[in-house]
């Protein structure tokens, strides 16, 4: 079929990943216990990583698992342990304007999807798997091809991203430390 990203078994696997991802994403928002939210979020990340693998973005899928499922999730769980959620005063987990928020979100989704109905992305030329793996006329692995673009065409954004991470590290340390007077 023209413009198809995935066909046959890959399409069914995509459907399964998508279903689990959506159910777990809803559970992230609904779960009362933050630890449950974090674990549902972990499953969503893994499912999205699976979709990345299916859509021939192997490097991004691996980074997704390493950084999101490995790094960010550990950070979340660490903070949940640190703040001792059980001792917090019990409050109603949802804001009062939950109905308005859900209606607004539904309208946003209808707005997005109406664009897909009114102006669907056209079929066009068939997908060429090798086009994602070529750089300078040579056939590479996906990671090599991504690195080729990252270190040549997008070198400046890459360096800016590294400086951003440095700023984030310093900011997190400054925000997270105890004040000097209290420690004395």
């Amino acid at each position: 079929m023209e413009g198809a990203l995935l066909t046959g078994l890959a399409g069914w696997i995509f459907g399964a990943f998508a279903l689990v991802a959506v159910v777990c994403a809803i559970s992230v928002v609904l779960a009362r216990n933050p630890i449950h939210s974090a674990l549902f979020l972990l499953v969503t990340f893994l499912m999205v990583a699976g979709i990345f693998f299916l859509e021939s973005a192997e490097f991004v899928g691996a980074v997704q698992i390493l950084v999101y499922a490995g790094g960010i999730m550990v950070l979340f769980l660490f903070v949940i342990m640190l703040v001792n959620v059980q001792r917090l005063p019990a409050t109603e987990p949802y804001q009062k304007q939950i109905v308005a928020a859900v209606v607004l979100g539904f309208c946003l989704n209808v707005l997005f999807d109406s664009q897909l109905v009114l102006a669907p992305v056209a079929g066009g030329a068939a997908f060429q798997p090798d086009a994602l793996r070529t750089a300078a006329g040579r056939l590479l692995g996906n990671s090599q091809a991504v690195a080729w673009g990252l270190y040549r065409e997008y070198l400046l954004p890459f360096e800016i991203a590294s400086v951003f991470l440095l700023v984030a590290i310093v900011g997190a340390v400054v925000l997270g430390r105890r004040s000097v007077e209290k420690m004395d």
């Binding site: 998508a18 950070l75 060429q128 991504v146 925000l175």
Partner: protein, 101 residues
């Protein structure tokens, strides 16, 4: 089953909307941050889908940048949560109201 780019975009919109609703309705600061991560992940899905559709690697490279920003944002957000918890002993976003009005 045949999956077109429109199906992937619909999935990405759905996850984005769930994250959006989560940011609006939850009181717990931690869950609000998790919802923001959901929204960022939905954007990545979009980028990857277009990367495959257009047979162009740029989308994949940009999603690496998005993941970088998400990591930095999570680190800063969680540091702010710890700071808030130390000062107010709460994670409720409504209790951080010193700047209200």
């Amino acid at each position: 089953m045949t999956i077109t780019i429109n199906d992937t975009l619909a999935l990405s919109f759905l996850i984005f909307t769930i994250g959006f609703i989560g940011v609006l309705v939850r009181r717990n600061f931690l869950t609000v941050l998790m919802s923001i991560e959901l929204m960022l992940n939905a954007v990545n899905l979009n980028l990857i889908a277009f990367s495959r559709r257009l047979s162009d690697l740029t989308g994949q490279i940009f999603s690496v940048f998005v993941i970088t920003i998400a990591a930095g944002e999570a680190a800063i957000g969680l540091a702010i949560i710890i700071s808030l918890y130390r000062q107010r002993k709460t994670l409720n976003v409504d209790e951080a109201d010193t700047m209200e009005g």
